[in-house]
Symmetry: C2
Subunit: 545 residues, 2 copies
């Protein structure tokens, strides 16, 4: 009897591409025990991103456009975790769980990379601190609350100039996401301003800044001009051929030197390669992985790439596929088939898809569309937009909820509740009792601790299996510093000798602190030099963990 | 012609009591320009608190049980702000707006205090750091995500003990809120565990800890015993006659010395007086304001108190009213009438309400109720519970949404999406351009700044109207320290001489930091001593703002 080997497929990323691939694979392998499908997703839900602008504008509830991954992808092993590394030689990915302390590794036979893109705003000073992105559900949620908080602020404000600034909303970037977001915000503000009597008297200013000579570059000139005209007609100020040079808490400075005082700056530009891909030896061009027409990575027989992080040849046009949801979903399906075909020694299928068209909403009941070669605009395009998205939304519950939201929208005013979910805690404290372990040897360290009260012992687990006491620390002492330099497994265990209270710093807290305040840096860094960068040895390292 | 004076009524608090009063006053004064009604609410929405446990258990969406205050209370001036102080002598309240920098003051003729209660867990070490409250919508949102994250974590975890701890959920306090929350969580976990194959194998442990010999003290013995039996039958472990002595990241320690390893500790105890009331000279008993049967504060002719922060005599029983929603709503209406009657020189009405009864849900389709002197239990009580709350929910949209959620619940599994809205930023940075003002003289200071790069000038606005240069600061220098000691108006303006990057600390960040790390404290506190606690004088105070 020969033992049949299980092939493990690991999919990285829970966006349009990864979810489509996982669903297809789960479906096709549910009766095949020889294939095991694993999906790694940072969130435990899938977000239907094209509807994010409506979430921002209080038209849809955040929870209505998402779908739990575990429900969307039956027959698939789901891991809600962040991918920390891809080891192509050992065919293993490393994952970090929810509480960012434990590291897991998952070997694979076949790997599908659908991690998408990230954002990099470092070229524009102040932009990463003072602008609000619109990429994730959390971004949409925050932006919605931020816009509403500016209306509340303006209504409370006595100073005329401060009120005007609170009521100025600027979007940077005139692509689909920027245009739809600012158009929705514009309509929303116009319709809810009646609830804010003092703000209404002042009026809102809504601005779109775009670097080219027309918005929506993806669409034809005629449609883009229509969209522009409609938006201007609804009161959106569109500034073309301008870039943002600098952002501050007061607003943005444009490349022509103009300053716009604004309480809200929305950023939809600055797409950048995913750092894991940029660092990997996978063949790539401008941060996107090079694949063949079967979606297989060049020179890597068992690695596949799809979605925005892949540069997929478009067989129909001879160019490359656009980084959009419609391509990603179809790539997911084709990639799943080809991967299975490889395992089952069947012929592969070329990826070929001409695209169905483009749709955008530029205001309430007004859209623009280019579908099957035809241009549409106005209410017809808007209706098409809603129908297509309702159809494409995965899961019946999502469809019902979004459908109901859209129906309620006909009868009720928008919901202007500014849902507060922020925690006020900035630095964290923790209390431990006698005998409890604060950090454990081998866990990944990303936190630094200062003891407020109580005593702890620092122990090292020797290969022989014995625990070796390295040091005893008390109030004012600190430990866990190595984690401040890099994420690395803890080199010792810290256990409480009595009830202990600590203040906890994350690595990021500390880097900001150490990078800026010389007093703090000098003292702690000297400690680090003395204690930690010296190779670990039991006598000299007091609390170096 | 005599000028008619406008009477300004200011209501503090947007809970059941404040909203009921504001709605009644708005309605009764909408054609009366001589009365102006103002409502101060920290959130811009009203939360229907009795449904929070269902939000935690993924039965209702967070946004469905809230209603924007501006829509609920037409004809009322709404201020979304936090009350910082009540000045009874000058008849003024001071408010803090959204961004916590600007202070506003609002004079009143009549004041209604409905600020509710706060939480104080300081007597139980570790409890405020390691337990999750269930008081606000934000709490419910976090608790829901926390419970789901523990399921994700348990599914990812390799270590058996860590998995068991992730799957242990403890509620402390067996009142309505604690019982309903843990009962809902218990049912939710049981129904969604099938999506977490590795967690399911281990099973969940759900525990309720209560200090008395039976839960739900507000109900009669028979009903409470029924509730207890039902919950135990559904797998909730109920520990009676036990208090929590200590909480740590690993779990809780009970008064009998037992330790429960748990990844989730929910706290529904520790009600405490609102600090503004505790500090005020208003007559009070155990932190609740003493009022007469007309809801007027004793010895304060134009101050009224209602809701949980008032000790209202119960004319029908001879005792005091219970601090519950049904009393608060009725007090709001009566208080509004009496206040208007005072202005209009009409006779006042005594507050008299015997209470309608008590309802609680102890699991899916299982409730307990004591209404009109009758005890009900099981599905009938559960149905009554849903009907009453659906009826009591303010606003048609809320009713529709909750109704739909409850209907969908019959056909769809629970939504297990763990909505991520946390921002990762811990310490904040900001970028300013030349000429911009970082802090402005007269604004309320609650932040401290360290300059990373660039130079600023420190200016004082003299009474004569001239700006006086106090100092110039550069990289490594800090300013705004006075704000670290108390919230006080800034004593000078800081303006950028060139592009400037700063790191910003909140007062709370800094206090935690300074309180624990001696190196930091020593250096900065010495600076404070030298520069700031000395009376301000232009030569010696460099950057003391």
């Amino acid at each position: 009897m020969t033992e049949k080997k299980t092939t493990r497929v690991v999919i990285l990323g829970g966006g349009f591409a990864g979810i489509a691939a996982a669903r297809a694979l789960g479906q096709q392998t549910k009766h095949d025990p020889s294939v095991e499908v694993h999906l790694i997703s940072t969130e435990n839900y899938f977000v239907f991103q094209p509807l994010l602008p409506e979430v921002v504008a209080c038209g849809l509830e955040p929870s209505h456009i998402i779908n739990p991954v575990r429900m969307l992808c039956p027959h698939v092993h789901i891991h809600c975790a962040t991918v920390l590394g891809i080891d192509l030689n050992n065919q293993t990915v490393s994952l970090e769980g929810q509480d960012a302390r434990r590291l897991f590794s998952l070997p694979y036979d076949q790997l599908m990379v659908g991690l998408g893109l990230t954002m990099d705003l470092s070229r524009m000073p102040g932009m990463s601190e003072h602008s609000l992105p619109i990429k994730t559900l959390g971004d949409a949620f925050h932006l919605r609350n931020h816009v509403l908080s500016k209306l509340e602020e303006a209504d409370l404000e006595d100073d005329e100039q401060a009120r005007r600034s609170s009521l100025t909303f600027v979007a940077v970037g005139g692509g689909f996401s920027g245009v739809e977001t600012i158009a929705e915000i514009n309509d929303m503000i116009k319709s809810v301003l009646k609830y804010y009597p003092r703000a209404r008297a002042c009026g809102a200013r809504v601005v779109l800044v775009h670097s080219r000579d027309r918005i929506l570059n993806e669409l034809g000139d005629k449609l883009a001009r229509f969209a522009e005209r409609k938006m201007r007609g609804r009161g959106v100020e569109i500034i073309l051929n301008a870039r943002v040079k600098e952002a501050t808490p007061a607003g943005v400075v444009l490349s022509n030197g103009d300053m716009i005082q604004a309480g809200t700056v929305i950023c939809s530009i600055g797409n950048a390669p995913h750092p894991l891909i940029a660092q990997s030896p996978l063949p790539q061009e401008r941060g996107r992985i090079l694949v063949d027409e079967y979606l297989r990575v060049k020179d890597h027989a068992n690695v596949w790439a799809l979605g925005d992080n892949a540069l997929v040849p478009d067989v129909s046009s001879g160019g490359y596929c656009a980084p959009t949801a419609q391509y990603a979903m179809r790539q997911g399906k084709v990639c799943a088939s080809n991967m299975l075909a490889t395992i089952r020694n069947q012929p592969l299928k070329q990826f070929s898809f001409g695209g169905l068209g483009q749709l955008a909403v530029v205001g309430h009941r007004c859209g623009v569309a280019h579908v099957f070669g035809i241009n549409l605009s106005g209410i017809l395009a808007w209706f098409l937009w809603r129908s297509v998205y309702l159809m494409k939304l995965p899961g019946l519950r999502c469809k019902i909820r979004v459908g109901i939201d859209w129906a309620l929208d006909l009868f009720f005013p928008r919901d202007i509740a500014m849902i507060k979910v922020d925690r006020t805690k900035q630095l964290q404290r923790a209390h431990f009792r006698e005998g409890e372990t604060i950090i454990r040897q081998g866990e990944i360290g990303d936190k630094f601790y200062i003891i407020e009260s109580g005593r702890v012992e620092v122990l090292r687990d020797e290969p022989a299996g014995t625990l070796h006491l390295l040091a005893t620390l008390g109030a004012g002492d600190s430990f866990g510093e190595i984690a401040l330099l890099k994420e690395t497994p803890r080199t010792a265990t810290v256990r409480c000798l009595e009830p202990v209270d600590v203040v906890i710093f994350s690595r990021k807290d500390f880097q900001q602190l150490a990078g800026s305040y010389s007093a703090f840096r000098d003292r702690v860094m000297v400690d680090l030099d003395d204690r930690e960068l010296i190779p670990l040895d039991n006598s000299s390292t007091k609390g170096a963990i």
